[in-house]
Symmetry: C2
Subunit: 359 residues, 2 copies
Amino acid sequence: MSDPLPTSATIGILGGGQLGRMLSVAAARLGLRTHVFEPGAAPPAGDVTHKLTTAPYEDVDALAAFARSVDVVTYEFENIPTAALDVIEALAPIRPGREALRISQDRLTEKTWLEALGLSVAPFANVTDHASLEDAVQRIGTPSILKTRRFGYDGKGQWRLTTPADAAAACADMAGAPAVLEGFVDFSHEVSVIAARSPAGEVACFDPGENLHEDGILRRTTVPARLTPSQRTDAVLMAAKILNALDYVGVLGAELFVTSSGLVVNEIAPRVHNSGHWTQNGCAVDQFEQHIRAVAGWPLGDGARHSDVVMENLIGDDMDHVLELARETNTALHLYGKTVTKPGRKMGHVNRITPARSN
Amino acid sequence: MSDPLPTSATIGILGGGQLGRMLSVAAARLGLRTHVFEPGAAPPAGDVTHKLTTAPYEDVDALAAFARSVDVVTYEFENIPTAALDVIEALAPIRPGREALRISQDRLTEKTWLEALGLSVAPFANVTDHASLEDAVQRIGTPSILKTRRFGYDGKGQWRLTTPADAAAACADMAGAPAVLEGFVDFSHEVSVIAARSPAGEVACFDPGENLHEDGILRRTTVPARLTPSQRTDAVLMAAKILNALDYVGVLGAELFVTSSGLVVNEIAPRVHNSGHWTQNGCAVDQFEQHIRAVAGWPLGDGARHSDVVMENLIGDDMDHVLELARETNTALHLYGKTVTKPGRKMGHVNRITPARSN
C-alpha cells in the first residue's frame, strides 16, 4: 500500500480511549471513516466513530472481521498483544509497523535499541530477580528507579530507590515481573518532540513542548519549550533518526531530558502523545490529523505554530471546574466524554493560547 | 431547562449533513454525546455521532423515540416539517425555538418580521399568481428576483427577471409555489455576522466575514471583512437585535448587504452557517461549539479571532485537487465524507490562515 487512500476509505483504530477519539475526529476531517476496536464498554472514541467493535484482543474472529473491514490499521497505545497483531497483519497493513511496537513495548529493548542508534539514554540495567537487582543497584547506584519492562504508563509499575536498602521491598512489590533499573539523570527539564513520517520518507516535526509531570502524570505542556537553537535542532534530528531507523509511518512522541551535556531520550511512544495535544489549537494541522495523513499515505500537513500554547490536563476532579474553564478567554476545552471520574484519570485538557494578534 | 447540561448529556440533531457533522464533533469536544436524526442513508454526520436514526420526518414513532433519548434537540437546517417539530416539542426542548423556525422558513414572513423590527431589507412583494407578479414587477421594477417563499437554498428556487417580459416564464417555472419578488439592492459587497445567544441572554458575535457567491453558492468568506468601524458596530447591533427579539438560543447567521446608505439584511438562518466555517481555524471556540454551548446552557466561549482566515468551499470536482490542497502551508482541510460528488454539491472547505506570528 503506497497510494494515498481515497476519502471513502476506512481507518481501523485499536483502542477507543481519548487518543482514539481524537484520531477518529481527525480522520473524519479528511473525509475518512473510522472503525474502532476496543474491549471496554462505552469507550470515548465510540461517540465519534463510524463503527465500533466491542471485543477482547483475544477474540480472533472479531479481530479478523475488524481487519477485513478497514483499509489500514493504526493504534492509540503500544501494548497491543502480539497475537492480536499477528491476526490483523495477515489481513490489513499496520501503521506504524510492527518493529516500532516491538521496541516500544519493552523498556529494556527500547533503551538498548536507542543506545545502539547512538542516542543518549539514562544508565540502565536488566533486572530479573533479587540478585540482578542487587548487581544493578551496585552498578547504577541510588537514587534510581525500578520500572517494569512492559505495560507501564502514567507512573504505574515504578518504584523509586532512594537508598540501596529500598531494593528488597521494590523487588517484592514487582512480584517477579521483568524490569529495568534506571539511573537518575541530572536534567533541568523535560521536552518532547512530536514527529511524523510519511510512507515516502517525508519527515515533519512540531515545535518541541516542555513537560511538567505531577505524581508521574503529565500535568502541563508549554510551547515553546526552553531550548537553545542548537538544542532545538538536536531534538528534531534525534526524532528524525528514530523515525528513519524504524522506517516509521505515523506520528511518534519522544520525551527528552535536557541536560548540561545534551539531550537524553527518556522514552518514545509509537503514537500520538499527550504532550502533543497543544497542536489542536496551535497549528493548522494537529498531531492527530498528521498521524492519519501519514497512515493514509496522504501528504504530511503544515505543523507550523501560529500561537503559543499551554496545554493543561484535566485530571480526576479537575472536572468540577469545567464551567469556569469554559468561561476563560483564549482557552479551548477538550473533554473526552468519560462518564466515570476517578482520581488520576485523564478526563480532558485545555489549550490556553497566546495569539500574537489581539483584537 | 435552564441549568447547564452535564457532560453525560445527549444533544439531538435534526439533519445529518455537514453542519450536523461539525456540530456533532463540537459536542464531543465538550464531552457531550449526540444523536442524529436523518432521513437519508449514510449521512456525513453518521461518521461522528454516538447514535444515528435513519427515518423520514413523517415517522412519528421514530421522532418520538429520538426525542425521548436526548436532553435537547437542535437542527442543522430550518426547513423541518412543522408536524415533526410538534412531535418533538412535546418530549424535548427545541433550541433555537419554534419562533425562529417559523420566521426563517418563509421568505415573506422573514422580510415582514425584519422590517417590523426596524431593520432594512430589500424591497419585496408577495406573489401568489401571474396577476400579483405583474403588480409586483410594476411596483418593484426590474432587474429583480423571484424567489419561492419556502425551501430555497444555494440559489435553488430563484428566477432572475431582467425585464418585465421575463415574468411570464418565471411564473410558469414556479408552478404556483408561493413566492416573493425582491428588488435588487445596490450593494458593494455582502458580509455575514455569526452571532450566538445563551439561555441567560448573553450575546457573542464572531468578527463579520465577507462573502463571495458564484452561481448562487457561497464560494469564499474572507475575514476580516471590508467594513468601517461604524458598519462593524451596526452589523453586531443588528444581529443582537434579531437574537433578542426572538429570545433566541444558539448560533444564527445573518447575511447583510453593505450599501452606501447602510446595512441591508439579505437573509437570516437560525443555525450555524457556511460563512462561519472560518471560525474553526481562526478562533479558540468555533461557531459549532458556540452553538452547542448555547443549546446546552453552557457559558458562551471566547470567539476572538487569533488569525485572519479565507474560507473557500470545495464544490463538486474541486475534490479532484484535495491532495494538492493538503500540501499547502497554513491551510486546514475540512472534508464532509460525502461518497458521491455532484456538480454544485458542497464536499468540504479549506481555511487558509494568516497567522500574525511567523515561525
